[in-house]
Symmetry: C2
Subunit: 134 residues, 2 copies
DNA sequence: AAATTATATACGCCTTGACAAATATATTCT
DNA sequence: AGAATATATTTGTCAAGGCGTATATAATTT
């Protein structure tokens, strides 16, 4: 069996990107840490589904999690590998020209300005958004 | 059920990239059209396996095939979609810094200079290689 | 401590796709 | 036409992973 470590590592990254829900999650995290509860509301998908996809991304090393009380905040974790990093750059660049992704981002902005519109009470507002949405 | 055409299309591209054998095939095709027989010899993998992966890439619209007598030549097919295109650019860029991929490319160069070393007689030499290997 | 809230994991079901081995197809050679 | 060559597809098996439902865990509130 021939060794082919690098191709395998790259393939693993692409597998992590090979799902529309995971791409949408990554897009929402592009510039900020986001709480799970927002993912659920904005993507309008079941909470276990969101959690499973976040776990997948965490396993793939693309995302890291931080607990804050009851809430879990997820954020992009830049890979140590330069190749993976440049590919992620390209991916995020395409998000900026994508209608659906922009729509998701807008929903996140709005939700954070008026969290009372969601099913959430006292949901944590990502600090990075205060300045952006001003 | 919400529409999310674009994320689905992107995810499909990544699924096509999520396999080490397919990545190696794409790398070999990066700058030239390549005959199936070379893939088999260089990657040292069974012919049906190579063919199946090439069919997958063709289905995903990343690659196109051209028949020439008994031989099938495969080459990169640049996607119409700008997003997919820029991602492919990033992918090929990482190939250039990847040891394993460079080793594969070298093996292709050598095989084309001395096709008699392979199990192939009268294998077609990719025209693009004449100038590169001079 | 009991109830509530937020998130994660387990379970069962189903689809996709990877593989090897066998077989089919297409083209060329004799 | 028949044999040989190059490639593609089929078949059967297996593992990964997607989904919804149910349940477990963790932190907070009362």
């Amino acid at each position: 069996m021939a060794r082919q470590s690098k191709p395998f590592a790259l393939a693993r990254l692409f597998a992590a990107l090979a799902d529309p829900t995971r791409l949408r999650l990554l897009n929402l995290m592009a510039e900020r840490e986001v709480c799970v509860c927002y993912f659920v509301e904005i993507l309008q998908q079941g909470q276990p589904k969101i959690s499973r996809h976040l776990a997948y991304l965490r396993n793939a090393g693309i995302v890291s999690a931080r607990r804050e009380g009851k809430w879990m905040h997820y954020s992009i974790r830049r890979p140590r590998d330069a190749a993976a990093n440049s590919i992620l750059d390209a991916v995020f660049a395409t998000f900026e020209n994508n209608r659906e992704m922009q729509a998701d981002s807008l929903r996140l902005l709005r939700a954070c300005c008026k969290p009372e519109l969601l099913a959430l009470q006292r949901a944590p507002v990502p600090s990075a958004l205060h300045s952006e949405a001003q």
